[in-house]
């Protein structure tokens, strides 16, 4: 077995938390159960990884099989990477039969025709997600296995989720291969980025909770926030206001959990509005400023702003349109007389 492959496997195993190593190796399926039984998973990770490398040598692992282990790791720990969403466009109404084998063939053929030194791996998951791992090389060097790009694609959808490697120069090639393989004709990057791949999927596939007014008999969830105050001497002075805030918040955000985004960024290119006597920026140029909201879970924190009394309800539409517009990067230009609100550029 190649030295580089052994080193790669060793380093991949070291990344895995000790308690997860056995189950991940089982998912990988490259080592037999009997071989796995011989490993002592309670010793130091260094030693565990050495033992795994030994066994892989016995089975003569090559880089493709090692790459599969890497995909499995990244599938479970996908939140360690930053994912961007790309949207593909197609012209005509082509038949919607998606053949996985033909997709894989076209993708590989396209990439390999331009760049020979690439390692390409595919893995399909139950939810119709196709994971693609590409390790890039140059015409003169072998692929760098430590900086691969990952692509997640759901068949018959126009969205692709890419976690690019640091080597951004390969991105156009990757996009081209995707477009050709999936029979679309164009691809462009959306302004949507997050560490949580599932949340990105929820947003673009419209799987997040939206509040629709219907007659459908659904069980009304009893959201009893505060415990009933038994003391009759205490009265809630602003009960109706609180109820209004709850109702408005519910209308905007729905009932269920929100997709997990870490930030929302607004680049302002608007004019600074001040007292004309102050003469700040007499040049009348747009005041360039960037506002960034960061949070471990931005949308949940926005949802709790009004009920916590920290903001007025309803919140600004610039904040509440994030999931519907599927973007968390905005450019706000000057208000034009025909629009009642600020113009948000596409």
């Amino acid at each position: 077995m190649d030295e580089t492959v052994a080193e790669y496997i060793r380093r991949t195993v070291l990344k895995i938390p000790r308690d997860e190593i056995k189950s991940m190796l089982q998912k990988w399926g490259f080592l037999s159960e009997a071989q796995l039984q011989t490993i002592n998973f309670h010793q130091m990770k260094d030693n565990v990884s050495q033992e795994v490398v030994h066994l892989c040598e016995e089975n003569s692992a090559d880089i493709k099989q090692a790459a599969v282990l890497d995909i499995i790791y990244n599938h479970i720990y996908s939140s360690k990477r930053m994912w961007s969403v790309y949207r593909m466009q197609k012209t005509g109404e082509e038949p919607e039969i998606f053949d996985l084998q033909s997709f894989k063939k076209k993708f590989k053929r396209r990439l390999l025709s331009v760049l020979e030194n690439v390692t390409i791996n595919f893995r399909e998951y139950e939810d119709n997600a196709i994971w693609i791992r590409v390790a890039w090389g140059t015409p003169y060097t072998k692929p760098n296995q430590y900086k691969p790009s990952y692509v997640v694609y759901h068949s018959q959808t126009p969205y692709v989720f890419i976690s690019a490697s640091v080597l951004k120069s390969n991105l156009p090639l990757l996009c081209q291969a995707l477009v050709v393989a999936s029979s679309y004709h164009d691809i462009h990057e959306m302004e949507l980025r997050s560490h949580s791949l599932n949340s990105l999927k929820d947003i673009v596939f419209k799987r997040y909770s939206q509040n629709f007014q219907t007659y459908c008999p659904r069980p009304i969830q009893d959201r009893s926030g505060e415990p009933e105050i038994a003391d009759l001497r205490i009265t809630q002075e602003n009960r109706s206001e609180k109820e209004r805030i709850q109702r408005v918040t519910r209308e905007i955000f729905g009932d269920g959990p929100q997709p997990k985004l870490e930030f929302a960024q607004y680049k302002l290119e608007t004019m600074f509005k001040s007292d004309p006597k102050m003469e700040v920026l007499a040049k009348k140029e747009p005041f360039r400023c960037q506002v960034k909201f960061s949070s471990p879970h931005l949308l949940e924190s926005l949802r709790s702003l009004a009920p916590a009394g920290m903001a007025d309800a309803p919140l600004s539409p610039l904040l509440t349109c994030i999931t519907q517009k599927a973007r968390n990067n905005f450019r706000i230009k000057e208000k034009r007389s025909s629009f009642p609100e600020s113009f948000v550029s596409p």
Binding site: P95, F98, T157, V204, Y215, C216
Partner: protein, 276 residues
């Protein structure tokens, strides 16, 4: 002198005040008693009406409907509630229901397969200036854009029915594939390959017969997105193919074309011994 005069005035004022208070209290009492009388009168009227209704029912008169105006408001409300509940039930059963919103209409489309309710999908439409989709929860792989381009502006009923057809067919195909995986997993070899729309299924399965199992591979294509039965089926025997297994493969192919996937499996798994 002056002081005694003042004292006298004071006591007079006191007296007047006290009398005023008494008078007010009396008036209050009177008002509350009058209210009580009113309440009791209303109660008496209601009870009278109830008794009348009972008597009429007992005497078996058939003009109860025409007496609706005379019966108590409670009965009318009851009737209205029952009617609305009936409407809601009809909506639930037909699968498409709509509710007027401030700026348009919100439709909900429920999918079902033979009595099992599957997911519901929603469409929030605006009606001014033209009919357009504001928000929705339709899965991205359903060709919503195409369908709305063709029908939304011209014939909204057709739009809803075509969309409902697509959604129901997708839900049924998905249900069949899920059922196959759940109930017949021990007859499947490897995993069931499918795509987002569940309109291409490929799997390997084995049929037991006389103690041995015979492997087959099947590929089902559903080109009609509004249909939950496949348009193209290819079943082939993957092992050593004797003549009779080719016939079985053809028979299975017919079954898959005609009936739902999990039902077809039921049929030939249980009848396996008889056929061969």
């Amino acid at each position: 002198g002056v002081f005694t005069h003042l004292e006298m005035l004071e006591t007079q004022a006191h007296e007047a005040g006290r009398k005023q208070e008494e008078k007010e209290q009396q008036e209050e009492k009177l008002a509350s008693l009058q209210q009580r009388v009113e309440e009791l009168r209303i109660q008496r009227d209601q009870l009278r009406a109830k008794v009348d209704l009972q008597q009429k029912r007992k005497s078996g008169k058939k003009e109860i409907v025409s007496h609706a105006a005379e019966s108590s408001p409670g009965a009318v409300l009851d009737w209205k509630l029952r009617r609305v509940k009936g409407m809601l039930q009809i909506f639930y059963l037909t699968g498409i229901s709509g509710k007027l919103t401030k700026r348009g209409v919100c439709f909900s489309i429920s999918t079902a397969y033979e009595g099992t309710y599957l997911d519901s999908y929603y469409l929030d439409l605006l009606t001014k200036p033209a009919v357009q989709i504001h928000r929705h929860s339709i899965p991205i792989f359903i060709p919503l854009e195409q369908i709305s381009k063709r029908y939304l502006q011209t014939d909204i009923r057709r739009f809803l029915s075509v969309l409902a057809d697509h959604l129901n067919a997708y839900a049924r195909r998905k249900y069949q594939a899920d059922q196959l995986q759940e109930r017949f997993s021990d007859h499947l070899e490897g995993s069931l390959q499918r795509n987002s729309l569940c309109n291409l299924l490929a799997f390997n399965y084995k049929v037991p017969s006389e103690g041995k199992t015979f492997p087959f591979s099947a590929r089902l294509i559903y080109t009609d997105l509004c249909c939950s039965l496949p348009t193209e089926v290819v079943v082939s025997c993957t092992g050593k193919c004797l003549g009779m297994w080719k016939e079985t493969a053809a028979a299975h192919s017919e079954l898959f074309r005609r009936m739902a996937l999990h039902k077809a499996f039921c049929t030939f798994i249980s009848a396996g011994e008889e056929v061969d």
